[in-house]
């Protein structure tokens, strides 16, 4: 039996397919880590994942799983689970048949039933086991696909845009599920997405994949930055990452219920009022354009009003990004005209306000 948790290293990986190529990809994923590969929508991330799974032959480089060189191992010997964006369930098998597929010839018949039931309970799909994949909703189908990949206890789980085909409500629920399952099983996971908030909510670390057009038909992908979510959006390595990630106020905090149905998200001692169902450890984001600046304290309907100091003013043509240290630091977007009229300078005392409903908790 191979060890259950695997660290994964990719060294100088190059892949060349008809429409896409990957250049010099290097990744280090620790055992038990939840690692996110973030990049714009395109074919590149899927190609990278399929190469790690052994479905494409790399041109150069090595792939190591739990210290073992698997670069030339066939996919069935790697112990890597794969979940596609649109589930890829076997339409001719029942849900139970789909989940049991990978267990055949590995465990005894009676054990198969037990393990299918156990993983069904973990993912909350026991009641679907006799159904056909065609009758499932998107969220149900993705749970089945997850169960099918997890039931064989892979050393590494690859998730290729697992939430992108779902409607927003299901997506949020399944995103939380993914976090919970990872905490429970501890499977080393690489998750690919184009959604930054999804990456922040789930990833211990994020790698940003950039795709460029080379020639008429071909695109090329390379990793441009690897780091914790905070590092990625606070210190983007280059213009591409900065533009892709955007300027954001994202904080990690703790959400607790407060009076009148609000939640208070505590970030570094600062209490931010928000409207959300979530509680406990969360992320909160406020868009820079949703924050209003005042010279004087002001009574308004905005639930959140704080005093701070301007630490940075960044001119972007017609608009200006003003960074205000409360702390933490908030970035606000204002027009150049407001900057002039309010006579804002670095070091000025200033008040900011934003509505509880402008806070997105995830």
């Amino acid at each position: 039996m191979k060890e259950k948790l695997g660290s994964m290293q990719v060294r100088g990986l190059g892949v060349d397919l008809e429409e896409f190529r990957l250049c010099d990809i290097n990744l280090d994923v620790a055992a038990g880590e939840y690692f996110v590969i973030l990049g714009p929508t395109g074919a590149g991330k899927t190609v990278l994942m399929e190469t790690i799974a052994g479905l494409h032959r790399p041109l150069s480089g090595r792939i190591l799983l739990a210290g073992e060189d698997i670069t030339h191992a066939p996919p069935e010997r790697r112990g890597i689970g794969f979940v596609y964006q649109d589930y890829a369930l076997f339409p001719h098998l029942s849900v139970a048949g789909n989940i049991a597929f990978g267990l055949k010839r590995r465990v005894g018949r009676s054990d198969i039933g037990e393990r299918v039931a156990a993983i069904g309970r973990l993912l909350g799909i026991e009641h679907l086991l006799h159904r056909r994949p065609g009758t499932l909703s998107g969220g149900e189908a993705q749970r089945v696909a997850l169960a099918r990949a997890l039931v064989v206890e892979p050393r590494l789980l690859l998730l290729d845009e697992p939430l992108s085909a779902l409607d927003p409500e299901t997506r949020e629920a399944l995103q939380r599920e993914l976090g919970r399952i990872h905490r429970e099983l501890g499977t080393t996971t690489v998750h690919v997405t184009h959604d930054f908030e999804e990456a922040v909510a789930l990833g211990h670390r994020i790698a940003v994949l950039r795709e460029d057009r080379v020639g008429d038909m071909k695109r090329e992908g390379r990793i441009v930055q690897v780091g914790t979510p905070e590092e990625i959006f606070r210190r983007p390595a280059n213009e591409f990452v900065a533009r892709f990630v955007g300027v954001r106020n994202i904080f990690r905090g703790k959400a607790c219920p407060a009076e009148n149905g609000y939640k208070l998200v505590t970030v570094n001692g600062l209490e931010i009022a928000a409207v959300t169902e979530l509680e406990g450890s969360v992320h909160a984001s406020v868009r820079p354009e949703d924050i209003v600046l005042f010279r004087e304290p002001f009574l308004s309907s905005a639930r959140n009003a704080f005093r701070g100091q301007i630490v940075d003013i960044s001119d972007r043509g017609t608009v200006v990004y003003v960074t205000i240290r409360i702390p933490p630091d908030f970035v606000c977007l204002i027009t150049k005209r407001s900057l002039r009229e309010m006579e804002l300078r670095q070091g000025s005392q200033i008040y900011i306000a934003f509505k509880a409903s402008a806070v997105h908790v995830f």
């Binding site: 052994g54 069935e76 794969f82 890829a88 076997f90 597929f101 990949a149």
Partner: protein
């Protein structure tokens, strides 16, 4: 039904199309109805007729089995892999549909005849093709394999290759991914191709008659009766064959084609 006659254009299309349907159905019906059930029964009891029908079914079945064995793997490759010369291979598969079947018979004779290398090699194993059942089988195989290969290829093309990839990541070898996923999903197409091929093999005359006039398959027997005794004596045999072929075809189509929308 009303949708058919939605406007004048469609109504005129209905009339034109109906002409073609009548053209097929009328002669078949006429042949069957012109022969009384008693005569049909007597024809069925005719040893020569029965053994030729049996031979026809059997030979076409063997041809279909051979095509299944080699054609399904070929169809899978054509559906999944891009390789140089693929278009040429696809063309070769379609050639038997366009060459005159008597010419196909001559061509087979050139390779499998008594004095050819292949003919003599098979002769060592006691297998001869000219004027023998194996000759009938290869003639049927040659002229009808396109149906099976093309149907199977379309069937495999309709299977998402990612299903096979997922199967591989779940620990399945390429063989098990094929038998556990691709084959069952393409099975309806393959089966309908087999039925089409088998039916096409049953009705083959041109290629068979050149390789093996004897033993006589049903179409050759029919031709011989017509040549020797005329319309009156060949008609019951024709009616019987039409009935048997129609019946088997319908039964097979019904059992195999319940969910043809996928194909």
């Amino acid at each position: 039904m009303r949708a058919l006659f939605a406007n004048k254009m469609q109504a005129s299309f209905v009339v034109l199309g109906l002409l073609l349907i009548l053209f097929v159905a009328w002669p078949l019906l006429r042949t069957i109805t012109a022969t009384g059930p008693v005569v049909l029964w007597q024809t069925l009891l005719d040893d020569e007729v029965r053994s030729s029908i049996g031979l026809t079914f059997y030979a076409s079945f063997i041809a279909t089995a051979i095509a299944f064995l080699c054609g399904v793997p070929l169809a899978y490759l054509l559906a999944r892999v891009d390789f140089p010369g693929k278009r040429l291979i696809e063309g070769i598969i379609d050639v038997p549909i366009v060459v005159p079947h008597s010419a196909a018979g001559i061509a087979l004779l050139m390779v499998f005849g008594r004095r050819t290398l292949l003919g003599q090699a098979f002769g060592l194993f006691g297998l001869k093709f000219v004027s023998a059942a194996p000759g009938i089988v290869i003639a049927m195989l040659f002229v009808s394999l396109s149906f099976l290969v093309n149907a199977a290829r379309e069937g495999f093309e309709a299977v998402d290759p990612r299903l096979e990839r997922v199967a591989r990541t779940l620990g399945a070898s390429p063989w098990r991914a094929f038998w556990g996923v691709s084959f069952p999903l393409a099975w309806r197409s393959i089966l309908s191709g087999m039925i089409l091929m088998w039916a096409r093999g049953l009705s083959e005359f041109g290629a068979v008659v050149i390789l093996a006039y004897h033993p006589m398959v049903a179409p050759v027997l029919l031709y011989e009766r017509f040549e020797s005794f005329g319309l009156r004596y060949s008609r019951p045999v024709a009616a019987l064959m039409i009935l048997i072929c129609l019946a088997t075809f319908v039964v097979l189509r019904l059992t195999a084609g319940r969910k043809r929308s996928r194909v």
